[in-house]
């Protein structure tokens, strides 16, 4: 029988999960260049809903955890091919000397910048997604690389490099599903782009109308430039998830969070016992340290159990 046994019920896990979920937040940004346009995102999210389940196979499952996007700004920048009108000769020079043209129609060029148009679509609140994680709790023994050979356990503690038992959530699967983009996203994108392009055109409204008459419908123009499919929501989903890798980024964030960088629990070995009792070590005396051996974690469908032995 182990010297020390600690068990936590599934209900305790549920309480803990709810508190961690409510306290968790995520923020990220990224951008990239694609054929004819640039795109970037800035996101901030929190979590809602979901369940945690201790399973008989020794894994812990977090299921259908909603990712609520407080900020999900998608910025699109378009480099529209330059378009020039005018510049042709109205009254040519009939003589063999002098300029070829006496009077030219003024030349007006639009879409000369790069990118010409940049719009930010506030998608926060318009996208719903959820994450599911299944993982195992594993223990590892960490010998601090900063610990020098001459150090005893007390020297290592003084130097802030004690050995540690660490507990990690080792994710077997992390799924992030983007399962709904509101239909209005397509209309919103087109409206923003139309306004931005109209603002770029020079001159009074009659001139803008003249240029637009030459260009044709802006919506068709944008569709041509972006090679947009009919379902713009699907296109945005691919852009965010595949082209920009936002969802990979979130998955990686979750993986990293629970992987090597972030043990969910760690304990010094040997463990300074006065710390457990919140009693200060008397001045000048060494802290009493208890060696911990055989630190293990097990999970079944009712509880998680931690066992350890006191070393000699």
């Amino acid at each position: 029988m182990s010297h020390i046994t600690i068990a936590a019920s599934e209900d305790a896990f549920r309480q803990l999960f709810a508190a961690l979920r409510d306290a968790f937040s995520f923020a990220d940004s990224n951008s990239g260049s694609f054929a004819g346009f640039t795109a970037g995102y800035s996101v901030a999210a929190h979590l809602e809903g979901g369940t945690v389940d201790l399973r008989a196979d020794g894994t812990v499952q977090v299921k259908e955890l909603d990712v609520k996007w407080d900020v999900l700004d998608l910025t699109l920048g378009f480099d529209i091919p330059e378009l020039c009108i005018g510049g042709w000769c109205i009254i040519p020079n009939p003589f063999p000397w002098g300029d070829d043209c006496w009077v030219e129609f003024p030349k007006i060029c639009v879409f000369s910048a790069n990118p010409d148009v940049s719009v930010t679509i506030p998608l926060g609140g318009l996208i719903t997604s959820e994450v599911s994680i299944t993982g195992s709790l594993v223990t590892k023994y960490r010998i601090d690389p900063g610990r020098l050979a001459w150090m005893d356990d007390w020297d290592a503690q003084d130097a802030g490099v004690p050995n540690k038992w660490q507990v990690f959530l080792d994710p077997d699967t992390v799924d992030l599903d983007l399962f709904d983009i509101a239909d209005i996203v397509g209309d919103l994108l087109m409206s923003l782009l139309t306004t931005a392009i109209e603002d770029l055109l020079p001159g009074p409204q009659w001139l803008k109308d003249a240029i637009l008459a030459i260009l044709g419908a802006i919506v068709d123009l944008i569709r041509d430039i972006l090679d947009l499919p009919d379902d713009i929501g699907e296109w945005i989903s691919d852009l965010l998830g595949v082209s920009l890798g936002l969802f990979n980024s979130i998955v990686n964030f979750v993986l990293d969070y629970f992987a090597a960088q972030n043990p969910i629990f760690e304990i010094e070995d040997p463990y300074p016992i006065e710390k457990a009792a919140s009693v200060p070590t008397p001045p000048g005396l060494i802290p009493i340290k208890i060696p911990i051996r055989d630190f293990t974690i097990g999970v079944d469908d009712k509880e998680m159990t931690v066992t350890a032995n006191v070393g000699p």
Binding site: H3, T5, I6, A7, A12, G284
Partner: protein, 281 residues
């Protein structure tokens, strides 16, 4: 049956782990287990038993023995006390949780160990530094107490006693086996609760006559209740810690019920504690 059927968290410590824990305490903090006057503390030859500390204790000049004032005994009939060197060492300390299988209890403590009880065994070795005859003869006898004056309202008042320090030459050590039976309770008001040991019985083996044994046991009961058992207190309300720097966990004892008749429970060679769990920001 799951360990947490009646609680959120369950914790248990086996007696073997506890006894290893005690051994680490004795080796790393020997001054909690060895006491003597400064003269005794500085001279290992005057100790009753050798002290075996961890190397780091010596390396960092931690004390092996707690320095105490000399033992002051009154010179009866005088306003003087004689101060003697002494040494008290707890050589062995072990615990046994029900059912008893580590410590053989003396008949006075009605073995076998009762349900929900723990037993402690301590072997204490001590000595008083007895001064040489020559040294005692060199001391001028103190004058007898003056008779109380008539009408003196404060007859109990005395001048501070004269202390006669007599360094000992002869340290004859004796060792006593002390047995304690007790139980654990969760005491204190909600929010300030703690797990502590309570004394049910104490016995010193093989002291004659019986009156002397009773007197020493009375003294040791006081020391056990006031000094030793408080060291075993675990403040439950202080078991609050941060997880991932996101949430704070607070632990409180699970109330007893027909399904959970004892909390803490002393059974299966373990002390078991059942805890309810609170999570906050």
């Amino acid at each position: 049956m799951a360990l947490t059927d009646n609680c959120d968290l369950y914790g248990a410590v086996h007696e073997d782990g506890f006894n290893l824990l005690i051994r680490h305490f004795m080796r790393q903090r020997p001054s909690w287990f060895n006491f003597g006057t400064s003269r005794v503390a500085m001279n290992p030859k005057l100790w009753c038993v050798p002290i075996k500390p961890e190397k780091v204790v010596v390396k960092r000049n931690n004390p092996l023995m707690a320095v105490e004032d000399p033992l002051q005994l009154p010179l009866l009939g005088t306003n003087a006390v004689v101060a003697l060197d002494f040494c008290v060492q707890i050589e062995k300390l072990e615990i046994d949780f029900h059912p008893g299988n580590v410590i053989a209890l003396p008949p006075e403590l009605a073995p076998p160990l009762a349900a929900q009880r723990f037993a402690l065994h301590g072997r204490v070795c001590a000595s008083i530094g007895c001064p040489s005859d020559r040294l005692v003869e060199m001391v001028e006898p103190p004058p007898p107490l003056p008779p109380p004056k008539r009408g003196d309202q404060d007859q109990g008042h005395r001048e501070p006693p004269n202390v006669i320090m007599l360094p000992g030459d002869d340290f004859d050590c004796f060792c006593l086996d002390l047995f304690v039976v007790g139980h654990f309770e969760i005491t204190g008001s909600p929010g300030a609760q703690r797990l502590e040991g309570k004394l049910d019985g104490l016995e010193i083996v093989d002291i004659e006559p019986g009156g002397l044994e009773s007197a020493i046991e009375c003294y040791l009961e006081i020391v056990t209740r006031l000094v030793f058992l408080p060291h075993l207190r675990v403040p439950l309300t202080k078991l609050v810690f941060d997880l991932l720097d996101l949430v704070t966990i607070t632990l409180t004892p699970t109330p007893t019920s027909p399904a959970l008749p004892n909390n803490p429970a002393v059974e299966d060679d373990q002390v078991k504690v059942f805890i309810d769990f609170g999570v906050g920001p």
